[in-house]
Subunit: 479 residues, 2 copies
């Protein structure tokens, strides 16, 4: 018994120590640092939400009070076992509401003329939350409803944002221990292509050195990802030529005169400049996010619209990046929905329902491109891809093939540069008997797929195809 007692005492002691360590960890990552609330209904949506929505803040830098806002949507299928997706939107500076309301989230704005009342919300039948838990994060700080109360806290960079996102994920998981064991994927699109691979690397490094909580990281997914902006911008001229936007002769002339460099051009190279002016004439009025869709410009915020109307010159400067933009888009334009998002997310009732902290973000902006203090300190994320996929994290990289921002064939090019062997050769993938796009699988569990007819944010343009692609990939099925 003594022995037994001794054993009891020592295991009790061990258990107490274990609890104490977890308590310390919990305290370090919790308290006022994390807030969360369950949302039963949302203004604009009729009735109770038929899915579980939680919003909240996670402090990722206590000394500078940097708070990242999130929307968490539980899987409508089996939240206990379905994967946990952490989703980041690009920009940098674009609110994750863009993904939640326009791409793969459970809601979207009814496309109807704005009459001054709150925009109506509808259910998205192709929401990825039908098969996965999705944690949508407004990152970096300054994006959407994320904020810092200090100037120092407002500064971020690719690597700093990744570090803060990693802190975010750890803290959020500590407060949601029921998701410890779910397979976890870090995902996003557009500029998130620069940051997601770094977050994956940071998590992976954390796992190797035994960071708590233990994260069941399985891989990552990226749509039309920025990877090397210089290479991508340089490749646009070829994409435009492929798509019939530039003539053969102009491409040949530009290749000859600019010698493959169309971004950092020597100002004394008159012939090259002349060719690039001709290129600009052909592309200036295109919609780069989907070359076949009408170009309707960007929309401004209701606040700035008011400022412009009131001709308040002082405040006008605050909107300097907005005042030269076109007026409310035509109803037929896809970005009419973007405009609706401004009216919705800046409505007091909506903010209250989402538990947005008063006075933290004066005006929600869909893409706060010029309003954040962000240093792009990573030139290319290919090294991160190489590093993490060699650690056996699986990946899906997809490209809407009508996007000129990140042309699909430049994505093919950097993937080829990783020198992975080909496992499953280039072939079409199908949805409902129709070609959804083309795919190829590489060693190190990397899959590339195009989404035929998709734009920069492919699920916005091809929702059914992208849902099926995502579902198959999550289930380890061939696309």
């Amino acid at each position: 018994m003594a022995g037994s007692n001794h054993f009891f005492t020592s295991t009790t002691m061990l258990y107490l120590v274990f609890l104490y360590v977890h308590l310390l960890l919990f305290l370090r990552f919790s308290g006022v640092a994390v807030s969360q609330s369950i949302i039963q209904s949302l203004p604009g949506f009729v009735g109770a939400l038929p899915f579980e929505l939680e919003t909240g803040y996670v402090s990722v830098d206590d000394s500078n009070d940097v708070q990242l806002f999130y929307y968490f949507v539980k899987s409508e299928n089996n939240p206990t076992e379905d994967p946990l997706i952490v989703w980041f939107t690009g920009g940098p500076g674009c609110s994750v509401l863009t993904a939640l309301m326009f791409e793969n989230g459970p809601l979207y704005f009814k496309h109807a003329k704005y009459n001054g009342s709150l925009p109506t919300l509808m259910l998205n039948p192709n929401s990825w939350t039908k098969i996965s838990n999705i944690l949508y994060v407004d990152a970096p700080v300054g994006t959407g409803f994320s904020y810092s109360r200090s100037l120092e806290g407002s500064f971020t960079s690719d690597t700093k944002s990744a570090k803060q996102s990693y802190i975010f994920i750890r803290k959020w998981l500590m407060h949601h221990p029921e998701f410890f064991s779910n397979p976890l994927y870090i995902c996003g699109d557009s500029y998130a292509g620069m940051v997601v691979p770094i977050i994956v690397q940071d998590i992976s490094d954390g796992i190797e050195i035994g960071h708590k909580p233990s994260i069941n990281l399985k891989g990552y997914l990226l749509g039309n990802p920025a990877t090397d902006r210089h290479a991508e911008l340089n490749s646009q001229i070829h994409f435009f030529h492929h798509m019939g936007i530039l003539s053969d002769e102009l491409l040949e002339s530009a290749k000859k005169h600019c010698k493959g460099e169309y971004v950092k051009v020597d100002p004394s190279n008159v012939q090259c400049i002349k060719d690039l002016q001709a290129v600009s004439q052909c592309t200036a009025k295109l919609n780069p996010s989907h070359i076949l869709e009408p170009s309707c410009g960007q929309v401004w915020t209701p606040k700035c619209k008011k400022i412009i109307r009131d001709r308040n010159l002082l405040e006008k400067n605050l909107c300097s990046n907005l005042i030269s933009l076109p007026p409310i888009p035509l109803l037929k334009c896809r970005n009419y929905g973007h405009m609706l998002s401004y009216y919705w997310a800046n409505n007091d009732g909506v903010r209250k329902a989402l538990n947005v902290r008063k006075g933290t973000v004066q005006e929600w902006t869909r893409c706060n491109l010029d309003g954040i203090n962000y240093l792009k300190n990573v030139k290319t994320s290919t090294g991160y891809h190489l590093s993490i996929s060699k650690r056996h994290y699986r990946s899906l990289i997809y490209s809407g093939d009508h996007d000129a921002n990140v042309p699909f064939f430049n994505t093919q090019t950097w993937i080829r540069s990783l020198n992975y062997s080909i496992i499953d050769e280039w072939r079409p993938w199908f949805v409902d008997g129709q070609i959804g796009g083309y795919t190829r699988t590489y060693a190190n569990q990397m899959t590339f797929a195009t989404v035929k007819g998709g734009g920069h944010t492919a699920p916005e343009y091809r929702p059914n195809e992208c849902f099926n692609m995502f579902k198959r990939w999550l289930s380890y099925e061939p696309l």
Copy 2:
């Protein structure tokens, strides 16, 4: 007075001789050889037609009783002065109803589920007949409602069809002398690209040698025109690569192994055959007429569907080219409308309204590809383009840029091969402030234009853009 009398007598004589010559000409080209009727209403269309429609037959080979059927729609603007367009559809063997009901004509089928009653007709707001008189011709013989009662008469070729079309135009004009002075354009799309330039050449030759009636030929217009089928088919592999349907590696391999020849392949060239099989795997389920639209196959005729259902093996052979085709397309498919055209054009009431001669065409087929006796005896029509545009006939060649049948850049290539100097350099053209496509004008009044997002029959996919393009070109305005 005597002199005056003498003068009167001789001018009267001259006038009588003139009338006699015209009468002879008229008799040669008329009588039972031409029939025409004015249509006030059409089954499926509610109320009287708000435009003037005439249908009829013109005999183009009396000895073999070859009768070409036509639909003539008077301009809704100013028929006396607006140009006269003669429109031919491709195939060879596709009924011109395809153009009239799906492309640039005044009517289209309401896209609604077929319930056994006659399909409903609607007015096309972008009909080219709003600004021009259009004479739609079912050519060559065997197409649509055109027919021959003799076996010999059923045989045609590119050059013979062109000759018969020329006879058609002369005879039709003789019966419609009020259109003698209207500017005349010969137009069409797809395979009409092989024949229209020959017709223009024949008319031009006729003008030079003083054929009557005198034809006020101004030029021609062609959409996604076949010009050199071998070159076009060979260029498809590059088009598919440009559009992200083939991988870079597959294109490189095929180029290396097939040495630029992907159509007439040496069967012992195993590597090339292997590459082309991989190409086929990537393209087999594409819709070649518009690579972003669903592939819904071709539709069969109601009669053949009944034959297949009844398992009448003898008759089944008559439908051999149809029985392997898919069933009624999905409502969401563009070719659902094509199916409706079968039900409409084979309805007894419709045929009666159109004054189709009983017993001449048992079953109307949208594209009678295998049912005509047609010899493709012209390899390329570039020589005709060269010859006629040097005679100062103006031309507009346009390409829907998402068509794989006749890829736009192969059209650019043969135009470049004409060695015309460039008058107006490659630039976008606009409709409602949006890019409609790109254009370039060459010497000899030749204009090339792409239709952004257009398919093989561009006005079917981009009606507003194509109407504006046509209008500007007709008015001698820059696109």
